[in-house]
Amino acid sequence: MQLNFNELQYVIGSPGTVERMTGARPLRPFDDEVIAFFGDLSAALRNVRQYPDVATFGFWCRRASLVKEKAKYDDAAERLGRGIVFHSTPSNVPVNFAFSFAAGLLSGNANIVRLPGRSFEQVDIISDAVRSLLGNGYKSLAPYVVFVKFPPAKEIADAFSSVCNVRVIWGGDGTVAGLRQSPIPARTTEITFADRHSAAVINADAYLDAERKDTVIQDFYNDTYYTDQNACTSPRIIFWQGKRKSEAKEDFWGRVHKLVSEKYDLSAVQAVGKLSAVYSAAAQKKAVLEKSPDMLVTRLRADVIGNDLMNYKYNSGFFFEKDIENLADIINVCDIRCQTLTYYGIDKKDLADLLEECRPHGIDRIVPMGKSMDFSLIWDGHDLIREMSRRVIIL
């Protein structure tokens, strides 16, 4: 099979590694050596101060936390990796590939990881650390790791798709559709991360009673502006519950505006895009633009939440807003495209009741404000370890 292409760059491993992968023995999930490998990788990365996202990954994959994860899988001893996982990671998030790779290796597989198309120093830092560990002390894991870079090119995607046992596609509807042009073997399974939207619900009274409001605001910023409000996990609509809603909103958005004007760089194209989004929504929906001194924080009060409201979502600090009495009032945005519900000041039991009562097709994660981006091995409703391994039973 052809594994050399002009546009294909091997960052870790070689065409030979890919050829030998089919012979590499699947590992058990949370294999001791794999945990040790990530433990050492964690040590190398978690103090990378200039890139908090690298440090976050480093902190996530430390030995103690993986051992804790392992304990959650009582069926790990019956499981084996499926073989080769081909990961296609998003082009504009620097560190997502590392989490995908970790999930693939932790579940016992060999991994062909397509790195982001754009160049990021974070990618180099992590790749260098992985390469160095595979060369020193973890040679036995080298057959399980290939990192590659290539522009959208069907023949390259075809080659890796034809050898994989699991294909993981990040990057939204367009990328999923593109890669699906490349056939996979009959037994190969696929995990796809489509375009999603997310929502947040805030209890006004709990917010007003919060002692450290600026921490809440920083958490909100991290959930939204930090990724240009363009991550699947970024809330696009904010629901307000509680008694003192207008007071809470005024305080909340005032502080958001202050933080955003200090930290966020809004380009002219983004500002024009947001204004276009305001009118696109307003032309079809009854929506009122909240007054604002500038384009940094754009809020559209949506009086009616129809099922199609999220067709009008936008990014870079563009929020629909709605006052609600009951949590169930959010249900119209919780269709199959809804990924994360972020909450502040809401009782967990009420959230469980909401799921039980409404049984929406969407909402795959419900997380406290500020935690929307925190990676977990259960992501987007997928149990990654179990979906990338098979359970073998002896009767």
């Binding site: 998003p90 990057g171 991360f193 240009d228 363009n230 002219a268 500002a271 307003a282 032309a283 009122v288």
Partner: protein, 375 residues
Amino acid sequence: MIENFYEHEPYDMDMASKDKLITEELLELTRFHREHCTEYRRFLDASGFDENKVETASDIPFFPVRLFKNIDLLSIPRENVFKTMTSSGTTGQRVSKIFVDRETAMIQQKVMLRILSDHWGKKRLPMLVIDSAETVRNRQMFTARGAAIMGLQIAARDIVYALNEDMTLNVRAVNDFLQKYSGRRFIMFGFTFIVWQHFYKAFEPAGTIKCTSDNEETVLNIKDYDLSDAFLMTGGGWKRLVSESISQDDFKTRMRDVFGIGHFIDHYAMVEQTGCIYAECEYGHLHASNYSDVFIRDPLDFSLKAPGEKGIIQTVSVLPHSYPGHSLLTEDEGMILGADDCPCGRKGKYIRIIGRLKSAELRGCSDTYADKMKL
């Protein structure tokens, strides 16, 4: 009433008197479109527009021109649409759709004619179009190039297309045209890049071009002709030439050297405000006529920028009656150079176009870019 403007020469009003007239007219149009275009009324409702607060033309609400790509915006019954003009989007991009009725079409042509006659005289001139006749053939779906050519036709006579359907030079047609009009005043019109790529380069470097058809050889040597009273009118921006390292000045110099062209009129225009062109004077400035005006907006809060400051260009025009396009935020960057004081004597603002706003790459999980994003 648009008739009030017809009493004037196109550049004869200073800012104070122009603003008074144009503000009244724009306010009238705002009311008209609010009443006749549901989506436009919702724009105004969403942004809380209050007409009592309008004191000057810059107080008239604007919306981004991009919305013509997402929404069909019209203030007339569909059966009154005389022609639909589209922007020239590249493949895969959505195009703007502008719905024009007979009245608006007539106004657009009349105003364009008035503006142009201020530059090259009231007589209709022969015109050599540096494009292919195919570009204007489909009248139902105009492109910006087609619309520009069609718009100019009314200002011209004896129109000849210099390019064949495959964009090669129609040597015989050009030769015949030049034989007839050498030494006289005529118009050459084309989009900058087309003129460069398919006209200039065809003659470069020797200035001659040969072609054989029906076993008859035509040799066209441009030096045989006198183009010193010809007006080369260009449009479509300079981005593609700049990417080939040809500046606007280089372009003029080369066109002057090879063809001996005497006059240059570049212009800024958009299909969403057809008719109100911003034409270049002999001092190289693009002028707003009485029929339109330009405001430069801050990209962060859309406040007004002072002359000499860069920002997003907003254009207002009193021509759009059939669709709510009288006040638009473009996606171009530019600045106001001055007002009422250009040495050419034309009143009103004169501007400089810097180019399209830079696109931004966004973070996020979906592989996408800000300027390509669906709305």
